[in-house]
């Protein structure tokens, strides 16, 4: 094994394998110093470098060559060097540039969150909330596209797309025939399939999971429920095609959606097949592993049973406690 290299990000030092990207080093540290990443996806080769939200400042190149890098760099595609010093949230320059990038990503976005199935688990929403400004300076008509059905299970709502190319890499790397790509150039670029053909492949549904926004959505889940009213549990089944490890999203007793298991960065644990995703929507298709951990920063957690621990106001009020007896018992069982 080769020597580890030392890198410091916002003053926190860590040792990582050589060749690790700044972004992944930051993710090992975790917390607020992790740059937001809208296009990089560790499981998709070649991804990253495009959205520019993960820009950071390298204030010291390495021990050998301490010169700072002249421009901000995309942390997802820049490897760490021994002795490198990186500034993310401690650099006003980075914050300013990131604000600019977020603004750019939003100027042509329809901001139709109230009717978008992705709302609540949309990375653009989070990004805008954390790094954007309240008002837009863009006063022109926004770009729109027609909705396209990619097969009968997936819908492409190009107007919401941020052109992160993740779905293109999925189509390229998980499916054997490449029928899905980018047409057009510049801000007229659009994701499309060859003459709007359905991508017929066992793994095509993964484009839904990698899409950071509501551009690729599951038609079987369309308008069924806001995600924060659903309850995710982890489950698995013996699947001949994929690992069968999924998250089931319940509304009451019904499984209304199946997705891969995603981490806080929106990255799936394993890609899943279309049979698991679209065909297995009965609880008895699955073996339940337990409730899904949801970050308490996510709106989904607002309805999660683990969070149902009585809020302070209720805990102190005996009358309210009595009225919610049943819920409390269920919540405190875990």
């Amino acid at each position: 094994m080769s020597e580890k290299v030392k890198v410091s990000i916002d003053g926190i030092t860590i040792e990582v394998e050589p060749g690790t990207s700044i972004l992944n080093a930051a993710r090992i540290i975790g917390g607020d110093i992790v740059p937001p990443a809208m296009c990089y996806y560790s499981k998709l080769e070649g991804s990253g470098g495009k959205c520019r939200t993960c820009l950071v400042k390298v204030s010291k190149g390495s021990e050998k060559d301490p010169r700072p890098m002249p421009k901000l760099v995309a942390s997802c595609r820049t490897a760490v060097m021994d002795g490198m010093e990186v500034q993310n949230i401690t650099s006003p320059e980075v914050k300013e540039a990131r604000k600019g990038v977020v603004e750019m990503l939003l100027i042509n976005h329809p901001l139709d969150c109230p009717v978008c199935d992705q709302a609540g688990e949309c990375h653009l929403q989070d990004l805008g909330y954390e790094h954007g400004s309240e008002a837009t300076r863009y006063e022109f008509e926004r770009r729109t596209f027609d909705r396209i059905d990619i097969g009968d299970k997936i819908q492409l709502h190009m107007t919401r797309c941020i052109l992160c190319y993740r779905c293109v890499y999925v189509a390229d790397q998980l499916t054997e025939k490449r029928e899905h790509g980018i047409l057009g150039r510049g801000d007229a670029s659009e994701i499309s399939t060859y003459i709007e053909k359905a991508i017929e492949n066992d793994f095509s549904g993964n484009v839904i999971d990698v899409c950071p926004v509501g551009a690729l959505t599951d038609k079987t889940f369309r308008f069924k429920q806001r995600v924060w009213f659903t309850k995710p549990v982890e489950a698995h089944r013996d699947c001949p095609t994929c690992t069968g490890k999924v998250s089931l999203w319940y509304k009451g007793e019904d499984v209304i959606r199946v997705t891969a298991r995603k981490d806080v960065y929106g990255e799936v644990e394993d890609f899943i097949c279309n049979t698991c995703r679209f065909e297995k929507k009965n609880t008895n298709d699955w073996i339940i592993d337990g409730p899904r951990q949801i970050s308490n920063r996510s709106v989904i957690s607002s309805n999660h049973y683990e969070q149902l621990a009585p809020p302070p106001v209720v805990r102190k009020n005996l009358a309210l406690q009595a009225a919610n007896k049943e819920e409390f018992e269920r919540a405190t069982k875990h």
Partner: protein
């Protein structure tokens, strides 16, 4: 008279054919290189010559060549960038049309120096006639034994192929060009790795401009030292300038680096002054991507000295008062031209040509174009001017490839130097639609620099 080394024989009838080119001393450099020099010798001569890339960035060619990785058992490639699409630049097309064998000879010699057995000339797709001319020249060279196996008994095998371009400005960016050459969508790659390590088909690759490769021929013929005698300081040799705009004699000129801008515009040897007896208002000195300068700043440096046509002198003063030599696309604007309209036109181009990979360029170029359009057509607001500056700053330096910068600089510089004119478009929208702002103070002599105590 300045020395001509690329275009010396350009007026000889039939110089585009192999026979006449050969009679005029053509393919001498190839014979000299293959028979008497090692590849390292050639790289050394190119280093000594001080030749810098003529495609825009001005990177020293000898240094670029010496960075080329040479792993065992892996092919190396030379790719000639003939995608020339920068508004205001048309020198490569001229060279390829009238003296194609100079490029072909340069390709063979350079490939020998780099150890590349296959090389490509990636020609802008719209230049169909030039593609045919080059193919004919290559066939002639091959028939004469200058291409193919074991050229002149040196043991060096070489083939040159012409590839029509993908039809986008962005395919001129070297990594996008490589992608396009591989048959993919012309999106710039994310660097590193640089082409010198992993370029075409993941092999070490050098990408050079047409003029850069052509200049290798005189360098090999006369030696790097001889070439370096022309020019001033680190700007050695001659440069083709595509002169256009309101000039008496627009065209392609070969200049010795170091002539004054004033001479270039006004002397009869070159552009012969501003057309129709008008006065000069502004100049874009190196193709649409470089900052525009008002007449007084393009002619004189901030310290009052004459500005010269060299890499250093044109960029003197940084972006505050300078510009860049770029690809040598020299566009002159007379007093009747509207800077706002021109800026809008440029930004329209960059909006159209952005590949759309990275968010600041994809979205920002369109935004700037829309705001500029509004200003030009009399619906602008005063706050738009600062908005443009801010948007251009958000793009500059934050993108994958330099197209983002190239889109930001013309806008930022136009506002830096011509803010009054932008404001006038807002405050007098009706007038702005009917007439131009005119010369204002843009051609006035620069104020005397203050004595520093």
């Amino acid at each position: 008279m300045g020395r001509k080394i690329l275009l010396e024989h350009i007026n000889v009838p039939g110089i585009n054919t192999f026979d006449v080119y050969r009679q005029k001393g053509g393919y001498r450099a190839l014979e000299k290189a293959l028979k008497t020099m090692s590849s390292d010798d050639i790289v050394e001569e190119v280093k000594k010559s001080g030749l810098r890339g003529r495609g825009g960035a001005g990177f020293p060619t000898g240094m670029k060549w010496s960075f080329l990785a040479k792993p065992e058992g892996k092919a190396r490639y030379l790719v000639c960038n003939a995608d020339e699409s920068e508004p205001g630049t048309f020198k490569d097309r001229y060279l390829m049309t009238y003296i194609p064998h100079l490029l072909v000879e340069g390709m063979i010699v350079s490939s020998f120096a780099l150890g590349a057995n296959t090389s490509y000339i990636y020609v802008r797709g719209e230049m169909m006639p030039q593609i045919r001319i080059l193919e004919k020249a290559i066939a002639e060279a091959k028939a004469a034994g200058f291409l193919g196996k074991n050229i002149l008994g040196s043991g060096f095998d070489h083939e040159v192929y012409v590839q029509p371009g993908g039809g986008a400005y962005i395919c001129g960016e070297e990594t996008a060009l490589i992608e396009s050459l591989e048959g993919k969508r012309g999106n710039p790659r994310i660097k590193p790795p640089f082409p010198a390590i992993s370029g075409l088909y993941n092999c070490p690759t050098v990408v050079n401009n047409v003029e850069t490769i052509a200049a290798v021929v005189p360098i090999v013929n006369d030696g790097g030292d001889e070439y370096a005698k022309i020019g001033i300081g680190r700007s050695t040799g001659t440069k083709l300038i595509s002169a256009s705009g309101n000039l008496n004699k627009p065209g392609v000129y070969e200049i010795e680096l170091g002539v004054t801008v004033e001479d270039f515009i006004y002397s009869d040897e070159y552009c012969g002054g501003i057309a129709n007896g008008k006065r000069l208002k502004a100049v874009v000195a190196g193709g649409s991507s470089v900052p525009i300068l008002p007449a007084n700043l393009i002619l004189k440096l901030a310290n009052g000295e004459n500005r010269l046509m060299t890499y250093e002198s044109l960029s003197d003063g940084g972006f505050a008062t300078g510009t860049m030599l770029g690809s040598g696309g020299f566009v002159a604007f007379d007093e009747d031209q509207c800077i706002v309209r021109n800026t809008w036109n440029f930004s329209r181009f960059y909006h159209h040509e952005s590949c759309g990979q990275c968010s600041p360029c994809r979205e920002g170029t369109g935004w700037m174009e829309k705001v500029l359009h509004r200003l030009e057509y009399g619906h602008g607001k005063l706050s738009d001017i600062d908005l443009l500056v801010d948007v251009s700053k958000k793009i500059e330096g934050n993108t994958i490839c330099p197209l983002g910068d190239a889109a930001a600089w013309p806008v930022a510089s136009a506002i830096r130097h011509f803010r009054d004119e932008f404001e006038w478009h807002v405050t007098n929208p009706k007038e702005a639609m009917e007439r131009n702002y005119g010369l204002a103070g843009y051609a006035d002599p620069l104020p005397k620099p203050e004595e520093v105590m």
